[in-house]
């Protein structure tokens, strides 16, 4: 059983802003059924580029639901420019921390938010840049490098907790170790 703090439990048991938004101005989707969690984020944006409302639909574990709920609470009232700078840490901090093994839930929130904002701004989302390292969860080397640097990760296991890479069949764990080691060597 995972140890969730009271705030995570509260956002899971009483999720804020859950449900579809029919007249959303922007939608961001991430995750998939095979991954085991997915988030669809809806934003209502006013003329001056401020998020006036947000809602979500989430498939996943308790921390995925709680992270989505927290995300919608955080972004309400934010300008798009500020929202774009939001990181997974901001979501985890808002919840008073997530178990390390569940950090990928907060990463999912950051990802859906960026996708929603980019699609609203009309920025074309190209195929994921970089080379796919983890086939099970479709994670590229560039994503792993960004996550390792952003969160000061120290091991392949940390990478799995944050972006799931390596958590499926495990074949790519050695490659992930190499990436982490090369970044640590540069630091």
């Amino acid at each position: 059983m995972w140890e969730y703090n009271d705030k995570v439990k509260d956002h899971f048991l009483n999720p804020r802003n859950a449900g579809e938004m029919k007249d959303a101005d922007a939608v961001g989707e991430t995750g998939s059924l095979s991954c085991g969690d997915a988030l669809k984020l809806f934003l209502k944006i006013n003329k001056s580029g401020r998020i006036v409302d947000a809602s979500f639909m989430t498939f996943g574990c308790a921390s995925a639901v709680a992270s989505s709920s927290a995300l919608t609470e955080i972004v309400k009232g934010m300008t798009l420019d500020d929202a774009e700078k939001l990181t997974n840490d901001d979501i985890a901090d808002y919840l008073g921390g997530l178990p390390k093994e569940k950090m990928h839930c907060s990463v999912m929130g950051q990802d859906a938010l960026r996708k929603a904002i980019r699609s609203y701004k009309g920025i074309e989302i190209l195929a994921k840049p970089g080379n796919t390292i983890c086939e099970c969860f479709g994670v590229t080397d560039l994503e792993i490098i960004e996550t390792v640097k952003q969160n000061n990760l120290k091991s392949a296991e940390d990478v799995t907790f944050y972006v799931k890479a390596g958590g499926g069949c495990g074949k790519c764990v050695e490659k992930i170790e190499e990436i982490v080691e090369s970044i640590l060597a540069q630091a």
Binding site: M1, L33, G36, A62
Partner: protein, 388 residues
């Protein structure tokens, strides 16, 4: 809040009768069964009684029962003994859906140079026995051991271990079965099937955690896994866990007496739970062969929702069960058992395992049947994959 406990394939409560029989051996009757004095020797007599009771549960001779610390130790001891007895043979046959005690041990041995065949299962959880028989026909001389679970812990699906064991025996191949989930739930007769080794665990049959047993067929020169003293006739060193051994003996006696109730009343409760959940919750499905299955186990998948979320909401209603999703175990893929059966991700991630014991009641099943539909609906209402 009352607890409704339907996670008995994970562990069971210690029966009051078992605990009562164990108590004196924690305190006043503390003698070492190996001692020469009668104070210790009397404890030895009680251990012999336990050995007889365990033997009766699986139709073995008492001398064929070796007490161990758990099911995992029994499995490890059996496989390592088989390898030691057959140093020239490098092939192990097992299934793709074994408990980690066998699965991870075999993966370890694979890295050490052994050739392991993980025999696949079909969508219903049935074993590809044809593949096993083909290998037995062609390369019997290279097979050190065949190890198959008697019944699957997640789905309850029963393997035809007796049939495979007989064919293995005909070819002189050692056959081991991890019967941890089957013992006490269905009748087991090691003699009828000519099984060489069988693992069982105390805490799955209302004995305490930390006690198990390994049946070793008479005539096998069993090399001990734990080396040291002469206990268990040299087959498992270490001073006996006397109270727990005595507890396992009593639990075995009770389990034998309850086999009929398992097959009738508990099977009825499981079938009632299954039928009502399927009827009340749309897009739900049972994993595994419904006929050829332990009477106490129900693995049921709910589309478009995730297991950990379901379990935590069930926990709010005091219902204890397990999930087939791996979010709860730290790994990210659904369980290897459901994946081996090619259960679609949609229902695999939302799979819940209910496992009953003779302590469960009809009222408890009705309570679960009332509690589950709103839990699944609540999660589906916020799931992007749920199509109303």
């Amino acid at each position: 809040m009352n607890i409704v406990y339907t996670d008995n394939n994970a562990t069971t409560k210690v029966s009051p009768e078992v605990l009562e029989e164990m108590m004196p051996y924690f305190s006043e009757l503390y003698g070492n069964p190996s001692s020469m004095h009668s104070f210790g020797g009397n404890v030895g007599g009680k251990i012999q009684e336990a050995r007889e009771r365990v033997a009766r549960l699986i139709n073995a001779n008492p001398s064929e029962i070796v007490f161990t610390s758990c099911g995992t130790e029994s499995d490890n001891a059996a496989i390592m003994a088989a390898l030691e007895l057959n140093p020239a043979k490098k092939h192990i046959i097992t299934s793709a859906v074994e408990h980690p005690a066998i699965k991870n041990l075999c993966s370890y041995l694979e890295r050490k140079g052994y050739h392991i065949t993980f025999v696949s299962v079909d969508r219903e959880g049935h074993l590809d026995t044809e593949l096993i028989y083909e290998i037995i026909e062609k390369k019997a001389d290279d097979i050190a051991v065949i190890s198959l679970m008697w019944a699957n812990n997640e789905t309850g699906v029963i393997f035809p271990v007796e049939e495979v064991a007989r064919k293995a025996a005909e070819k002189g191949i050692l056959f081991h079965t991890d019967a941890v989930q089957a013992v006490g739930k269905i009748p087991i007769d090691v003699k009828a099937a000519d099984i060489a080794m069988l693992s069982l665990s105390g805490h799955k049959i209302h004995a305490p955690k930390g006690i198990g047993a390994l049946y070793v067929r008479q005539g096998i020169k069993f090399p001990p896994f734990l080396k040291g003293g002469h206990q268990e006739k040299g087959r498992r060193a270490g001073t006996e866990n006397t109270a727990s051994i005595i507890g396992l003996g009593k639990a075995s006696e009770l389990a034998k007496a309850h086999l009929n109730e398992m097959d009738t009343r508990i099977r009825g409760l499981r079938d009632y739970l299954e039928a009502e959940l399927l009827a009340k919750i749309p897009a739900s499905s049972v994993n595994g062969d419904k006929k050829n299955r332990l009477p106490n186990t129900l693995s049921i998948g709910f589309d478009a929702v995730e297991g950990e979320s379901i379990l935590l909401l069930m926990d709010q209603s005091g219902i204890c069960a397990s999930s087939g999703s791996a979010c709860t175990s730290g790994s990210l893929d659904p369980s290897h058992v459901l994946m081996a059966m090619k259960v679609p991700f949609e229902s695999a991630h939302g799979t819940i395992r209910f496992s009953l014991s003779t302590y469960n009641t009809k009222e408890e099943m009705s309570y679960i049947i009332e509690a589950m539909p709103p839990i699944i609906k609540r999660l589906r209402d916020i799931s992007p994959f749920w199509k109303k």
